[in-house]
């Protein structure tokens, strides 16, 4: 029987239009990233630096988080801790209710996707208003982001134009980017004026100064965090870094790896609410620090590398599996290679273990990751955990898998039994023409030699000793 993942992947594979859109976009992003790092030695030095900064932060995580909390509080922010998604949602709802809000302006935030915030708020009669163009498109289309940086990357301009025409029938129709952006901006402006609560993610939280750093290209993020009276920032606990000076290298790595930009159009540094003598900015700033399984990941010295991630998306931009099935094929909030290592850890191998199998281990992700997360090695580790789990659980199917590997290993661990099997296979090779399950569905059956290399080598006089 096909797994849920396989069925979903099949649907994504069948969607030629989305596949073409994703491929085109990814090809473009690959070129842009490459152009942004013309000096390869420099790139490697930067990656070393990025890894070191993130490793150090993770090594001192509890301490840094405490410092961050203290500094943010000194700066006048309210800091909240959320153990899981439910607690984070509840905290956000409470803040909104306290201010009598009925809507929230949202800057782009993957953590808000992780906790299912939009659905939760809608269920409590609070309207989440996505202000990032990509997120807005996704919201109007009632979909989920298919990419962590470019949420609507699977859609082409015409699809977006048609979507807008359906939702804003009074507006003129147009397919070019300027027109669509301008239209979205007009629609947005109204909402910015009227909404008093804004919510955003965080790219980096600086412990030393209690500063929240947020990058974006549209300015809507800045509006969502400064125009409303209340700003709620939500982030995973791993996003903390020690010093302000750590920001520069990380930002360089982030924006160049993500979109090939030397810097984003907007870099927002938020260090508290409006001060008495200031004319703008929110009156209240809340920071919600979400665990949701991260401290469990942090406890494992090898898997901890997962938390180095700065969410640039380069791994998916370069992933051949992602190119084929897109973010929706994964069926998780975080898709692509980072999703394939993160989601099984966040949600458990029982639920998302198959993601760790959905990779050829080609290494393209690890090669581009700006903080050198060894994604293929971590996939291998998760597969190992999965196989271990199978040994313990004795599931029927998994029991069979384990049995087959054991059999395989016994054959290949003994020269005599290997010789018997290979002799058998090469002599009866006509039998190998029978269909080899999934392999031969799209491939001609492999040729089996009449004589193995073992036999040929001996005949040709290549000595054993």
């Amino acid at each position: 029987m096909r797994s849920e993942f396989r069925l979903r992947a099949e649907r994504s594979l069948a969607s030629q239009r989305a596949r073409g859109n994703i491929r085109r976009a990814m090809d473009g992003l690959i070129l842009k990233r490459r152009a942004a790092f013309p000096d390869l030695d420099e790139l490697e030095r930067l990656r070393d630096q990025g890894q070191a900064i993130r490793d150090q932060a993770l090594a001192n995580l509890p301490e840094l988080l405490e410092r961050l909390e203290r500094r943010c509080a000194t700066n006048g922010m309210h800091v909240h801790w959320a153990e899981d998604a439910a607690e984070a949602n509840r905290l956000i709802l409470d803040i909104i209710r306290r201010h009598g809000g009925h809507a929230v302006l949202k800057g782009k935030s993957m953590v808000s996707e992780e906790i299912g915030l939009n659905a939760f708020l809608a269920g409590h009669d609070i309207e989440p208003i996505e202000t990032d163009l990509g997120e807005l498109i996704i919201q109007l289309a009632r979909e989920h982001p298919s990419h962590i940086v470019a949420p609507a990357v699977h859609k082409d301009r015409r699809e977006v134009a048609e979507l807008f025409a359906r939702h804003f029938p009074e507006e003129p129709y147009g397919e070019d980017i300027e027109h669509l952006t301008a239209l979205a901006r007009r629609m947005m402006r109204e909402r910015f004026r009227a909404t008093r609560i804004g919510l955003s993610g965080v790219n980096f939280a600086v412990a030393e100064t209690g500063t929240l750093c947020l990058v974006e290209n549209e300015g809507n993020g800045r509006l969502s965090t400064t125009a409303p009276d209340v700003h709620i920032a939500i982030t995973g606990i791993e996003k903390v870094i020690a010093r302000l000076e750590d920001l520069a290298p990380l930002l360089t790595l982030l924006t160049r790896s993500a979109t090939g930009q030397p810097i984003t159009t907007y870099v927002n540094l938020i260090s508290g609410p409006r001060k008495p003598n200031e004319l703008d900015g929110p009156h209240e700033v809340h920071l919600i620090l979400l665990d949701n399984g991260r401290s469990r990941i942090h406890a494992d010295p090898e898997l901890r590398a997962t938390l180095r991630c700065i969410r640039c998306g380069a791994c998916m931009n370069h992933c051949p599996v992602y190119h084929r099935i897109g973010g929706h094929g994964y069926g998780t909030v975080y898709p692509g290679p980072i999703g394939a290592i993160l989601e099984p850890q966040l949600q458990g191998l029982e639920r998302q273990g198959e993601l760790a199998q959905a990779s050829t281990l080609c290494g393209a992700c690890g090669e581009v990751c700006p903080v050198r997360i060894p994604i293929p090695d971590l996939l291998n580790r998760l597969r190992f955990e999965q196989a271990q789990g199978r040994a313990l659980r004795h599931g029927r199917r998994s029991g069979r898998e384990r049995f087959l590997w054991r059999l395989w290993s016994l054959i290949h661990a003994s020269p005599a039994s290997y010789r018997r099997i290979s002799g058998f296979v090469t002599r009866l090779r006509i039998l190998a023409r029978i269909r080899l399950g999934p392999w031969t569905r799209t491939r001609a059956a492999p040729r089996i030699a009449a004589r193995s290399l073992h036999v040929l080598a001996q005949r040709e006089g290549f000595r054993d000793d």
């Binding site: 396989r6 992947a9 099949e10 594979l13 599996v321 190119h323 084929r324 198959e354 199998q357 959905a358 050829t360 281990l361 080609c362 290494g363 393209a364 690890g366 090669e367 291998n380 998760l382 597969r383 190992f384 955990e385 196989a387 271990q388 384990r402 590997w405 054991r406 395989w408 290993s409 016994l410 290949h412 661990a413 003994s414 020269p415 290997y418 090469t426 399950g437 999934p438 392999w439 031969t440 569905r441 799209t442 491939r443 001609a444 059956a445 492999p446 040729r447 089996i448 030699a449 004589r451 193995s452 290399l453 073992h454 036999v455 040929l456 080598a457 001996q458 040709e460 290549f462 000595r463």
Partner: protein, 249 residues
């Protein structure tokens, strides 16, 4: 590394049963360069299939046999970047903390991928005796990203005077084999293999060569099913045929 007097040849299980001609050609090429080639008859498989599937105990059981069989000081020649990569980079991790750790490290350090050896160690001269031909080359991900020996294959092919190399579209991309991936996620694997096979077909070459038979099994099988005309050949066999009068076809 300087030119050794003798080497051990590790043929890999795939070549052993699916393409022994390539293994033989590889051994002959090395022998022709004046090096004694030994083929340990006890060898089976590097253990990578089980290792990549997460079955480390099973992988160790198989890999341990190779440690026995490949004991010694000579370089271990492997006509596959994928298997060579397993032995070079993963054996030390696989045996970490076990009594075999030291010899696993010793074996790993002696493993050399076939093209890398011909190109970098032997600096082999190749006298091309074949007719002019356009050829596409496919680099495995292990060659490209793990062992960094893709350039060695290209360099060898460039030494053949009558061969002109063609790079297919999206050449950097994986062919979609990935061991058990092809069985566990056949739909995605087929989509990747299909794109790869089509990209090669678009170059209109008669032949695709690679230093990894696994990729060629995947791409070639897909191409054949799709009705593309080009054939696939392991680089060892191709080099041997082009440079040996008796075997010229």
């Amino acid at each position: 590394m300087t030119k050794p007097e003798s080497i051990l040849f590790f043929g890999t299980c795939l070549i052993d049963m699916a393409n022994p001609e390539a293994g033989l050609a590889g051994m002959r090429l090395i022998e022709r360069a004046g090096i004694r080639v030994r083929f340990p008859q006890g060898q089976t498989c590097c253990g990578q299939p089980a290792y990549n599937a997460g079955y480390r105990e099973e992988a160790r059981r198989v890999a341990r046999l190779q440690l026995d069989v490949l004991a010694g000081d000579e370089p271990i020649l492997v006509p596959s970047a994928s298997c060579a990569g397993m032995m070079r980079t993963h054996y030390p991790r696989l045996f970490e903390g076990t009594p075999d750790a030291a010899r696993a490290g010793q074996v790993a350090g002696r493993v050399v991928e076939f093209c890398d050896f011909l190109h970098r160690v032997l600096r082999i001269e190749l006298n091309d005796l074949g007719p002019p031909i356009r050829v596409a080359v496919h680099h495995s991900c292990s060659a490209r990203r793990q062992l960094l020996v893709a350039d060695a294959a290209t360099a060898l092919l460039r030494r053949l005077a009558n061969v002109s190399l063609v790079e297919p579209d999206h050449a950097h991309e994986c062919c979609g084999f990935g061991g058990t991936f092809a069985i566990k996620e056949p739909e995605i694997s087929s989509a990747m293999a299909g794109d790869k096979a089509a990209a090669v077909a678009a170059t209109e070459v008669p032949l695709l060569v690679s230093q990894d038979w696994g990729c060629l099994l995947n791409i070639g099988g897909t191409a054949k099913q799709a009705g593309y005309a080009y054939r696939v050949k392991h680089i060892a066999e191709f080099l041997w045929e082009r440079t040996e009068v008796a075997h010229e076809k």
